[in-house]
Symmetry: C2
Subunit: 111 residues, 2 copies
């Protein structure tokens, strides 16, 4: 899993799901969480993450909240009502996709 090619199309789903689970998170925290959960198999760099987050904000899926931590500003992201709906939709889509791919690739059934 050195090559993260497969992640394409799922980064936003990952972000949305993390926010669904944790209520609110800031960018750096998200990159760390992904690394921890996947035991380092996936490393989302900031150059990938921030454009994705900004995109989700622009689409109305997230709202931000800036908090001062000393002299540093930490920007929290949280799901909007729309974002919660979209999250559910994306998770369903992904489950369907896995089932379909397992059919296509003759993998053991699941989910």
């Amino acid at each position: 899993m050195q090559s993260n090619e497969l992640i394409k199309g799922t980064l936003k789903t990952i972000i949305l799901n993390l926010l669904k689970e944790n209520g609110r998170m800031y960018g750096y925290e998200i990159t760390q969480a992904i690394q921890e959960i996947t035991k380092g198999e996936i490393k989302i760099t900031e150059g990938s993450l921030y454009p994705a987050l900004h995109g989700l904000v622009a689409e109305g899926m997230l709202i931000t909240e800036s908090v001062n931590i000393g002299k540093r500003v930490r920007k929290y992201y949280r799901l909007t009502k729309e974002g919660k709906v979209e999250t559910k939709k994306k998770l369903t889509e992904f489950s369907d996709y896995i089932v379909m791919m397992q059919g296509l690739l003759n993998l053991k059934p699941s989910i």
Copy 2:
């Protein structure tokens, strides 16, 4: 599954697996097979398929064989020895990816 975004990064894996299962296939046949297996959920257009096939040939994964069917030329694709190794590798990678994603997205375990 209207949006095929999730397919990104897996098209070649799908093609390689189909060839592994069927020995040899031609382009049009591959598009039809994918549609049938996925019950129309995925439609790989020729504009996506042929560049992918040509890429795999250029990478040494496939060899071609042209057969005359009346006045029409049908181009069969078949896995090379290298292609067989690569297919196995890609299938393993994909299985690992699914397991990892199920962890990230809190989906039911599988495979």
